[in-house]
Symmetry: C2
Subunit: 191 residues, 2 copies
């Protein structure tokens, strides 16, 4: 998606450890007008699917998923939670996720009542690197017996293996910008 790639080149910053900082528009400060453009593009790519629900995982995915849902007829959005709270008291779907950004393993959880076997689900997230969060969300959807229409990712780090892991599972993966390589000075997108 050209608009997104231009924005990454303009405002993205590469940090040591293969970190791409896009916090000025994507995952700390959020550019809602851009998010609507992302939503339009996801809707175009998944036009053949009757999406009934969008899921994501807190925190960075939530704002994107909420805006994207407007382009899928305002379907409900459910975000998996990373911490237990008194507000989670129903039957839970859970998955273990290893985080390479924060270190350690955490549990993501979603109340079972929000997913049904009739659902055709679009999974939305800001980044795909090693794919651990997406695999966790896919596991949650599988536990619910629902169908996955696909995953919509804003930025995929094509030089890490998450994309391959997801595609090898036969899951449709649509990444709006795929980074082939990056150095301190240059970001190269996959063709």
């Amino acid at each position: 998606m050209q608009l997104l790639k231009e924005r990454i080149l303009k405002d993205g910053k590469v940090k040591p450890g293969h970190i791409l900082k896009v916090d000025s528009f994507l995952n700390h400060q959020m550019d809602v007008a851009l998010f609507n453009e992302l939503g339009r593009e996801f809707a175009r790519r998944f036009a053949g699917e009757k999406i009934t629900k969008i899921i994501t995982v807190e925190a960075s995915g939530i704002g994107i998923a909420a805006i994207v849902a407007q382009h899928f007829g305002n379907v409900p959005v459910v975000f998996a939670k990373k911490t237990l709270s008194k507000n989670l008291d129903g039957e839970l779907l859970t998955a273990q996720v290893r985080s390479y950004t924060r270190g350690g393993v955490y549990t993501i959880q979603m109340e079972r009542k929000f997913l049904s076997p009739d659902d055709n689900i679009l999974i939305i997230d800001d980044f795909l690197a090693k794919g651990q969060a997406l695999l966790g969300l896919l596991e949650i959807v599988a536990q619910a017996g629902a169908k996955v229409a696909g995953c919509g990712i804003v930025i995929e780090k094509g030089f890490q293996d998450g994309g391959q892991l997801i595609r090898e599972k036969g899951v449709r993966l649509e990444s709006l910008a795929i980074i082939e390589s990056m150095t301190d000075d240059t970001i190269t997108f996959a063709p």
Copy 2:
């Protein structure tokens, strides 16, 4: 806001410990069409203010704030983070927040570069109970030397003291539904 109150009465569930579960439309599953109605109402109430930025705190506030921003001319939304990550590497604004829902004290943090003394900020959150998260966000805005136009809250628990704490600080507080009391069977709104 009548629409919201009706939705709370229809789908809200009171749990022991003064917990109001509204997870089917507000803070786990999100009803984006409703969020747009909330945004319209906040825009009506803050019509006299030239809002330049909306801030909130992860996780439940993010989706609401993103949708609400569309009714304020797509101003940028910044969410305070509850955990340190490799993605936070600039100068940080921080505040300590006591959580009564999850227990314990945590630090919320926001990169200083996203707030400027020229900003006129609207703070958005899903719930106001004891007001600790809001006080933390107000502290962050004060550290940045920015102005607070006010706080826009979806549901205020009027029987807890958060609302009073915020109003006593001279901060404008607009809560779309104020709950006066609740029991297992009934939810009573303030007039």
